[in-house]
Every structure is written in C-alpha cells, then in structure tokens.
Amino acid sequence: MTLDEMKPGQECRILKVNIGGATGQRLLDMGFIPGTKVRVIRNAPLVDPVEFNVRGYHVSLRHSEAKGVEVELQ
C-alpha cells in the first residue's frame, strides 16, 4: 500500500520511494528512506495535505506526493 492510504494514528514502515525527479529527491532528502518509520498525525481540515512524523520531526505532504511512497503497516 502507499502512504496516502494511511489513516491518522496509523504507523508504517517505508518500503520504497517510487517517484523520482524533484519530488522524489525532496522526499529522500527529508528522510523518507526505506526502513524508516512514519506515523500519520492528522489530515488538514480539508483532508489534503496530511501531516506525518518522520525521524522525530513533522512534515506535511499532499496526497499526490504521498502516493509515491510505498509502505507496509506496522
């Protein structure tokens, strides 16, 4: 499954980042690396974007970007 399908409160582990280019590189730079644990904090009031906790800090992504990250539920 992909990161955008996760619900607030759920935790998962990253398997693979499937997008390249600027978005993919930015995700890697921010620490979205295979094996990393990600917790979904909350959706924005209009559902998009979503806030995550990765490596001890908070970051928000749009669903379209989160879709590029393959994860497995913990």
Binding site: V17, I19, G20, G21, A22, T23, G24, Q25, R26, L27, L28, D29, M30, G31, I33, P34, T36, I41, R42, N43, A44, P45, L46, V47, D48, P49, E51, R55, G56, Y57, H58, V59, S60, L61, R62, S64, E65
Partner: protein, 827 residues
C-alpha cells in the same frame, strides 16, 4: 566603504530551514548588515561583518536548504555560492533537536571540502526533549569543531567566534567526512574520481570525489559544469554507462542509494552521540497543534487571527496615523513656508511642483505606522511557526487554482476582505517555495481590495446603492478574491505554464516563542526596505505625473483671460469697500498680498486651535502681528466688517477662478486629452471623460481618485465629502447604478499603485512582469465594466440585478477554473 585593502575572511552561514541561521547571523554581526538579492533572482542575500581579535570576518547568510541538489532555486544558490565564491569557511547551523536530518546536509557541505564549523543550535529545545548530546564525540566523528548554542538567547556566542577564528587560521582542524556509500557504488565513485582527478582544469577547482558523487546523483548542474570545464568529453559518457549499469543491476537509481547511505551514517552518528534521558512522546507543540490544526477549531482560529491582523494593523494603525499625520503635515507646511508664496490665481512652478512631490511622499509615508504594526505581527506569526499551519489548513483550496498554501498570507495582507495593502502582500510572496505559485500570487495580490480603493467604493455605494449598502459592500469585498482565483488559474495555464514547480513537502516546525529583538529587527528591516525603495521612485513618478497633468498648459489667450478675471475680482473688491474706507490704504499695493497671507494664516491657526485659551493666545499673537489686519478679520468696526465681507466674497470668487483654471489646465493637459480621447471607447463602460481623468490620475495614488473626482466636480467653496456626493448627483444627472457598478468594478481591478509595482518588479525579478502586472488589470477592469454597463443596459437590469448577475457569473467561472486539471505532474 572602509579600508578596502583590509584582509577579510568570508564565512558562509548554511543550514536547514528554521535551524536558526538568521538568528545566529544576527547574533554574530549585530547591526552591521547589508541586505540585497542574489544576482538575477529574488532570494535575499544578507551580508554582515564583525571584528574579532583584530580580524575582520564577513558573513553571508545562505538560504535555508535541506539538501544541496539542483532541484530548487535556494539549493542552487547556496551551492553556487559555496562553489564559486569560495568562502574560507562555512558555519553549518545544525538543529540539535533534529540531529539526523540536519546531519544529512552537514555531510554534503563537508564533502564539498570547505572547512566547516558546526553550530549545534537549539540546545535548549534538545534538552527539553530529553536529549543529551556528546559534543566531543560528535566533533570527532564529523571532523570539525562543534559549538553548542542557544541562538535566541545569545548563548555560545564567544565560543562560536573563537571556533570560527581558529578553524579559519588552522585548516587542519577540519577533515572532510568520508561517507561509505556501500559496495555497490564505491567502486564506481572511485573510478569516476580517478578520471576527474586526471582532469587538471576540473580538479583544481572542485573536489573530485564531490563531483563524482553529484554525477552519480545525476545532478544536472554538475553535468553542465563538467561539460563546460572538462578537457575530455568522455567523463559524461562513462557516467552514463555506469549509471545505466547500476540501474539494471540493482533496480534502483543511484541517488536513492546515496541518500539512504547518508541517512544510515547520520543515524549511526546520532545513535553514538545522543542519549535519550526521557521519552517525550507528546511535546507542547503537538498539543498546540491538536487545537490549531483541528478540523473545526483550526479554521476558526485562522479566521480569528486574520481578523486580529486586520483589526490591529489597519484598524489601530489608522488611528495611529491620526497622530503621525499632523507631523507629516507640519513637515509639508514647513517646506511650503520656505517655498515661493502662493499666487493670487496662479502658483509659481517652484511652489506647485515641490509641493506636489511632497504630497505624494507623505501620502505614502502616512502608511508607515500601519506597516510597522503589520510587519511586527507578521514577524511574530513567522517566528512562532504558525505560517506553516496556515498553509497546511488552506493549501487544498488554493491548490485548485494553481496557488499554494503559502499564498494565504500575501492574499490576506493584500486585502482579501476590504482594507489591505498590496505592498506588504507582494513582499510576503518571498516565502512561497513553489516558483509557479509564487509568481501567480505576486500577480494576483494587487487585485485584492487595498485601503486606497475603499473611499471610492464608499462614495459610490452611498450614492447609488444606498438601500443595499450591506450587500453592495459584501459584493465588492468578496468579488475580488473570486476573480483573483480565476486569474491565478489562467496565469498558471498560460504565461506561467513553464515555470518551475516545487513539490509540497512542508516541514511543520515546532512552535517557538518569538523574541522581542528578533521581531523588531525584522519589522524595521521590512519597513525600511519599503521606505527606501518607494520614496526614491515616488519622487520620479510624481514629477512625471505632474507634467502629465499640467502640460502643455493654457493658451496665451486663456491665460490672459484668467489674468483679466483676477484683476477684475480685485477691482470689484476695492470698489465695494470704497475709496473713503480707512482700511483701503493698508490694503493697496503690497499690503494686499500681505493681507491675503495674514488671512490664510489666521484661518489655519483658528482651525488648529483647541479650547478657548488657545484661541485667545492666537488672537493676541495676530493682533500684535498687525493690529489693522486684525480688526478686519475680526470685523471690529463697521468699516472693517465691510472689508471683511468684501474680502470673503473675493476669496470665494478667487477660489472658483483657481478651480476653473485648474480644471481647464487638466482638461487640456496630456492626461486630460487622453481622457477625452478615450471617451468614445470607455462610453461602453459608462465612463465619461471626467471619470476617465479621475481614473487615469489615480494611477499615481488610488486614494486620490476621490480627491480628483472632488476637484473635477468641485463647484464653489471647497466642500465636505457629503457635498461631493451631492455634486456628483447634480452634474451626472444621467447616471444610474450601472455607471457606479462599472466604475467600482474597474476600481476593484485597478492596476497596482507605483509603490506596489516597484515591489512587483523586485519580487518577480523583471520589468516585463512589472508591466504585465500593470496592464492586465486594466484590460480585465475594462472588460468587466463594459460587461456590466453595456450588458446591463441591453438586458435592462437594475444596478442590484447586474451586481447579482455578475457575482453568479464570477462564481461560476471560478468554479469551472478550479475544476480544470493541471497538466499531469512532472514525473
């Protein structure tokens, strides 16, 4: 310009966004700063200098970046600076509470080979989170000096000064880090490095291993660099074969593996140096966010904050201008008093022209109190970290229109509801990371309802929509954002189509308590930028506009006509008071001019005076100045009263004559002729030449639209505003609410004022965009005006009906615009 020959050590301040770079930069340099832009782009370049132990250091605040790829403008700028300006040293600001991610950048800086000093900032937050960092061990592993600091409280300043000095003197204190990129990549890196080292031209300028790593990451800028400098062309072809082989062998792009290994190393270092004394699961920040980003309370809080922003800055700021305006006015009066005196019906050029310019300047300076409050509030919002939350909450809506969550603040400042100002709005666009959205925001902020547009709305609404004031105000307040969203989308789909887009990966920083010093500094910095930029250009523009409305001037015959009229008025005056009048003598010759000045001064003083006591003092002063004149102004005896009456009559006639003359001059001027010339066309929008002139002349400053209308519609005595409404009704008997609606819509779309255009030029980075921002609103405004006026007339709509119809149409168009899909994403 101090001794240019003096040796100085250039030090770059780098680090991830929000790590405290600017705070440390300010801490080290104090007030000796200079803000400019990096050449050709709108990213701020701050430089500052300091002295330590007799040596001079020059600091450059680099833009905050998470990495050093070539995908974003900030990263390219930071990297190019390090590559080409060759600073002696880099101070890497590392957020101690977020070590892993910050080290990811540290590694990349270290690999570039420039000596590093690590500033381990935000130690207080790390402590609060229960993190204990072994500074010695960290320093050993990173091969650089590490200095713990708390930037906003000035802790660690001395040690940092010392570390910078030491490392700049003794380069052996720094050893570039060597990250092991693993069995799969290392052999390739070594081979590439070998090849690159052979190329003397390249290896003398850049670290071969760094080049090799960047090439494996497929960095487009570094490829260009190789293309340009390499003697042999075979490096890129070797690279291609290696990359292709790697991808086919491991099924993954090398840049992914490289990023992975960097994070792996960072984790290793963090594990070895950071001890968790206690587990803090829910930080205060998290708890605040539970309310601030909540589905229901989040938007409510946002609305309250926006309301407060308006209320405090515009609401109270306006009140403050009540105190500052007299200061500005007395400054003008001071200047006026040293200029040649006012003429009977014609002011000398050397008076009229400087006063015109000064009026233009103080009209803009009048906004300074508002800006001070506004910029203070923005700085507070920025420092606390709320901006990211604001973007988080509203991104979804803006995104439909090719804007960005971060467009929220600029649009609010511009006046999403009535009464903003486009200048701070455009200035705030700097924060938007996505280039395409940033441009779209810059272009649409001026469409918002700035304070200067409001007086005209109020005037027209109270004349023509008196029964539906509330709705009319709501209409005009909300129609602009609706239109702006459509415009943003259209720009996105057309002229901005090729602009770079940035992925929406937005850090939500922990909340910080802002510091007074930091907030004030930023507020003053921005206000000063505004004052400096605007004043210089306002002067030039005011002069041009002055010529446009005064030249070519009246013909000889008309000028003579006014001269005759003037002397006739004077003759009538003397005839009325009669030769035998005892005051006739003092008023003849130069005495008359003197009396005019005396009369004006007395009137002015009377208006300013408060309370009986003050009035008495003024009377005393004027009696001393000229007892004879005083008798006249006070009508102290029968003869004096006669003179007083006659003079009042003369004044009235004189004012009217001045008015007529001015009106005729404006009509005959270049601007006036343009207004006439356009009438056949603008008639479809319901604008006659008078309106044309008023609209044209408001280009210099919109708030003058009402004043210009005032002077065009002026009949006799200078009237109150209420009078203006009457006068417009009187002169424009044929007007109906459709005329008013057309004018209001045109004003809503009115091109940005000169100061805003200056800011657009600064932020968009080109004169072309500035012209575009100035011209497209005119086209749009005319279209809308013609639509409601001609369309409304054809359909026989009332003003209110046309308003409603236009509103529905605008919402429909915007909805459709929002639904148009953007081109599929980049990759």
């Amino acid at each position: 310009m101090k001794k240019a020959s003096e040796e100085k050590t250039v030090v770059a301040v780098a680090g991830q966004p929000n790590s405290g770079k600017s705070t440390i930069f300010n801490l080290l340099t104090g007030a000796r700063q200079h803000v400019a832009n990096y050449p050709g782009v709108t990213v701020e370049k701050k430089t500052g200098s300091y002295r330590f132990k007799g040596e001079r250091f020059e600091l450059v605040d680099l833009p905050g970046t998470y990495s050093l790829t070539s995908y974003s403008l900030e990263e390219r700028i930071a990297r190019d600076f390090l590559l080409h300006e060759k600073p002696a040293l880099v101070v890497d600001i590392v957020d101690a509470s977020n070590l892993e991610r910050n080290l990811y950048l540290t590694f990349q800086l270290s690999e570039m080979g420039i000596p590093l000093v690590i500033d381990l900032n935000m130690m207080d937050i790390a402590e609060r989170r229960g993190l204990e960092i072994d500074v010695e061990e960290l320093s050993r592993r990173l091969g650089a000096k590490v200095v713990p600091t708390v930037g906003n409280r000035g802790k660690g300043k001395k040690e940092l000064y010392e570390a910078i000095r030491e490392t700049s003197k003794d380069k052996t204190r720094f050893t570039p880090i060597h990250i092991d990129y693993g069995k799969s990549i290392e052999p390739i890196l070594n081979e590439l490095e070998q090849k690159l080292s052979e190329d003397k031209n390249l290896s003398s300028h850049y670290q071969p291993r760094w080049l090799a790593i960047k090439l494996m990451e497929n960095d487009s800028e570094v490829r260009k660099l190789i293309d340009k400098h390499s003697e042999k062309g075979n490096i890129l072809s070797l690279l291609k074969s290696k990359r292709d082989w790697f991808i086919s062998q491991y099924g993954d792009a090398p840049e992914k593996v490289i990023a992975e290994r960097r994070y792996l190393t960072a984790s290793g270092i963090a594990e070895a140096t950071v001890k968790r004394k206690k587990e803090v699961l829910w930080t205060l920040s998290d708890r605040i966010d539970q309310i601030v980003c909540h589905r229901f309370s989040g938007p409510v809080i946002l609305a309250v904050i926006i309301y407060l922003l308006y209320k405090l800055s515009i609401g109270y700021g306006w009140k403050l201008t009540n105190y500052t305006w007299p200061l500005l006015a007395s400054f003008r009066d001071l200047i006026a008093s040293v200029l040649p005196a006012e003429g009977f019906i014609h002011d000398p050029f050397l008076r009229a022209m400087p006063l015109w310019v000064i009026n233009g300047i103080i009209a803009v300076l009048n906004y300074v109190p508002i800006f001070l409050i506004l910029f203070t509030l923005i700085a507070i919002l920025e420092d606390t970290g709320y901006m990211a939350r604001m973007a988080f909450i509203l991104d979804r809506i803006f995104r439909y229109f090719g804007l960005h969550g971060q467009s929220t603040l600029p649009l609010i400042l511009g006046g999403v509801y009535v009464g903003g100002c486009a200048i701070p709005g455009v200035m705030a666009c700097r924060g938007i990371k996505c280039e395409r959205s940033r441009m779209a925001t810059i272009m649409t902020v001026p469409l918002m309802n700035c304070m200067a547009k409001v007086p005209l709305y109020v005037l027209l609404i109270s004349i023509f929509f008196a029964e539906h004031k509330g709705f009319a105000m709501f209409f005009i307040a909300t129609i602009t954002i609706i239109i702006a969203l459509s415009v943003a989308k259209i720009l996105n789909l057309t002229v901005l189509r090729k602009r770079e887009m940035a992925p929406f990966v937005m850090e939500m920083p922990a909340y910080h308590l802002p510091t007074v010093q930091g907030v004030l500094r930023r507020c003053l910095e921005r206000t000063w930028l505004f004052v400096r930029k605007v004043i210089t250009i306002i002067i030039a523009v005011a002069i041009i506009v002055y010529f446009l409305i005064s030249f070519p001037g009246l013909s000889k015959e008309r000028d003579a006509y006014y001269g005759n009229q003037a002397s006739e008025i004077r003759q009538i005056f003397f005839k009325e008071i009669g030769d035998e009048n005892p005051y006739a003598g003092t008023l003849s010759g130069a005495g008359f001019e003197e009396f005019s000045i005396y009369w004006d001064d007395y009137k002015k003083a009377g208006i300013a005076a408060k309370g009986d006591e003050e009035k008495e003092a003024i009377d005393k002063k004027f009696r001393e100045r000229n007892p004879e004149f005083f008798k006249i102004v006070k009508s102290e005896d029968k003869e004096a009263a006669k003179v007083n009456r006659a003079y009042k009559k003369l004044e009235r006639k004189r004012k009217q004559l001045r008015m007529e003359k001015r009106e005729e001059t404006i009509q005959g001027s270049l601007l006036g002729r343009t207004g006439y010339f356009m009438e056949p066309f603008t008639r479809f929008a319901g604008f006659n030449w008078r309106v044309n002139i008023a609209l044209l002349s408001s280009f210099a400053a919109k708030e003058s639209s009402v004043a210009t209308l005032g002077s065009i519609y002026q009949t006799e005595e200078i009237g109150e505003e209420k009078m203006l409404e009457e006068r417009i009704k009187e002169k424009e008997k044929g007007w109906n609410p459709l005329h008013a609606l057309a004018i209001m819509l045109f004003m809503a779309m009115y091109p940005p004022c000169i100061p805003t255009l200056i800011m657009v030029r600064l932020e968009a980075g080109s004169t072309k965009w500035m012209l575009f921002a100035g011209i497209y609103p005119i086209v749009l405004g005319l279209m809308f005006a013609i639509l409601v006026f001609t369309g409304g007339n054809l359909l026989g709509l009332s003003g209110l009906q046309a308003m409603i119809a236009f509103y529905i149409l605008a919402i429909a168009v915007t909805t459709v615009m929002g639904l148009i899909k953007r081109k599929p994403k980049m990759e």
